[in-house]
Symmetry: C2
Subunit: 309 residues, 2 copies
């Protein structure tokens, strides 16, 4: 099952340096989930050749413009492209009124159902769950109510033990993988545990942007396979990070290290950094398995080989 993330924007509030505002696409088994949607996201989705109609959900972390101003344009383009599949938007409650007012002003009646869900800033709150993923909230600390998102793959089927595969009739395999016991023709029962072993634990991806350094997140991020964490500033500007409720690269890496995540991806870089290497170096010193997110590149969400604990 495919499970990967493509950041489309790694810039902060002020667009500059060729970086775009926040947006990223999760591909879970060819269903697409958009996280944040800054101005121009539809253009970057097109450049990266994503099929708009595969996007079933948009998750908006908070209502600073660099995280949501692309929503109206995307909604409208989906409409013009003849979409009929419903679109789910998970966002702070105020976004509903903002969307409704603009649909009304432009006299638009969407051709497709738009379902709105107000997000809660509460660790562990289940925001969405379907055949591919479960999405829960992370309580971030920022100047506005801000939600992070934890994507967990649906548990894989149980793994058939090699030594028992020959015992199971072909047509029973899916049921056994789903956890059922095997009833033989003579009526005897083979318990599932003798036939299967636990599948690998579901992969997890966490999105934390925008947020101040927030150690409350650590238990909720424990062991996630890939963590995207904002790194707006270097430590030289730690005071500015504190004031604006953003994080430094070192703080992002400290969270990654203390939560024993698999890998760390940095983003939301301030426009003052033309070159993000100082941010990356600062983080790597604390947590080696760190990369600076590149816009348009796709990162697999996978079990890390190297453990960083």
């Amino acid at each position: 099952m495919r499970f990967q993330v493509t950041p489309l924007g790694t810039g902060a509030a002020l667009p500059a340096r060729g970086r775009s505002p926040s947006a990223q696409v999760i591909n879970a088994n060819e269903d697409l989930y958009l996280i944040d949607c800054g101005e121009g996201t539809q253009e970057r989705l097109r450049m990266a050749a994503f099929n708009f109609q595969r996007i079933g959900h948009i998750f908006i972390s908070h209502l600073h413009g660099d995280h949501y101003l692309g929503v109206m344009g995307l909604i409208s383009t989906m409409h013009l492209l003849g979409r009929d599949r419903e679109l789910h938007i998970h966002a702070p409650q105020e976004l509903k009124a903002i969307i409704d007012l603009q649909l009304q002003a432009s006299g638009t009646w969407l051709r497709y159902p738009l379902r709105f869900y107000a997000t809660r800033v509460e660790n562990g709150a289940v925001l969405w769950s379907d055949a591919h993923v479960e999405v829960t909230a992370l309580a971030l600390k920022h100047r506005l109510p801000t939600t992070g998102f934890l994507f967990r793959q649906r548990p894989a089927p149980r793994t058939l033990r090699k030594e028992s595969v020959h015992l199971i009739p072909h047509f029973r395999r899916n049921a056994i993988k789903a956890g059922e016991d095997l009833v033989r023709e003579d009526g005897t029962i083979v318990p599932n545990a003798e036939l299967t072993s636990d599948p690998p634990p579901p992969l997890r991806y966490a999105y934390c942007s925008d947020t101040a350094y927030n150690t409350d997140l650590i238990p909720h991020l424990h062991g996630v396979d890939l963590l995207y964490h904002e790194a707006t500033f270097t430590e030289h500007l730690a005071a500015r990070a504190r004031e604006t409720l953003h994080s430094t690269a070192r703080q992002a890496a400290t969270i990654a290290r203390d939560a024993e995540v698999g890998q760390l991806l940095l983003g939301h870089f301030s426009s003052r950094y033309k070159d993000v290497r100082p941010l990356l170096e600062e983080a790597v010193a604390v947590f080696p398995a760190t990369r600076a997110a590149d816009e348009g590149c796709t990162y697999p969400i996978q079990r890390s080989i190297v453990q960083n604990s």
Copy 2:
């Protein structure tokens, strides 16, 4: 005095073919006036190296997303760049509530004064007037209330007659150019008309997008030096143009010919046209002095040498 226009977006509602949504910049003596502001306009302003702080006014024709969705991002970026100069927005009344709701949701208190003026869809209504230009409304016909904009340069000073220049003391020249009579040392008066001739008539630029074919505009557009007129479709899709209240290229050219304008610039091309030559050819057949607007190119607004009447 510089007077020129730079189209930044020549696409229609659906962004595609590398074309951007509507936006253009009028430069009148180094003061900038933005007409329409589709999503991503701030990025294209940056690409074209316009200084955001020189933009004093934004004129929005109507509230379809491809004409205004870039306003919030631009307002916000001006704020982050430390603007203190006031910004004037001329737009349909509903845009005020849309802006206010979003400023409120993001907890933003702009550092600079934002002045909002509700536009009226009424031919000749004066929307703005300053030292460089006077801007009046054109009543367009579209699915929403839509205003076109007629920019007229401020009248130039009167022209001193060559044969009289020697009569005028240097320190009196500006007053004479402004229309005053000359009082000689012996008390005799030389009337201004003997000293000066009429200056060339002020240059005029008209923006008509979006609109159905609308002959009511002709007297208001008569003799303008440069007309930007939408040409969403070719004549093959004249029925579609009628339904959607857009124009064909031939209709745009017919308006230009009947209004005896100097030159015609076509734009707002439907995404179905990868190549705009068929649109251009259709218009040129009716009105030869026609060009298809190129995004990012600057067109001088000047007296046409070739008259097309």
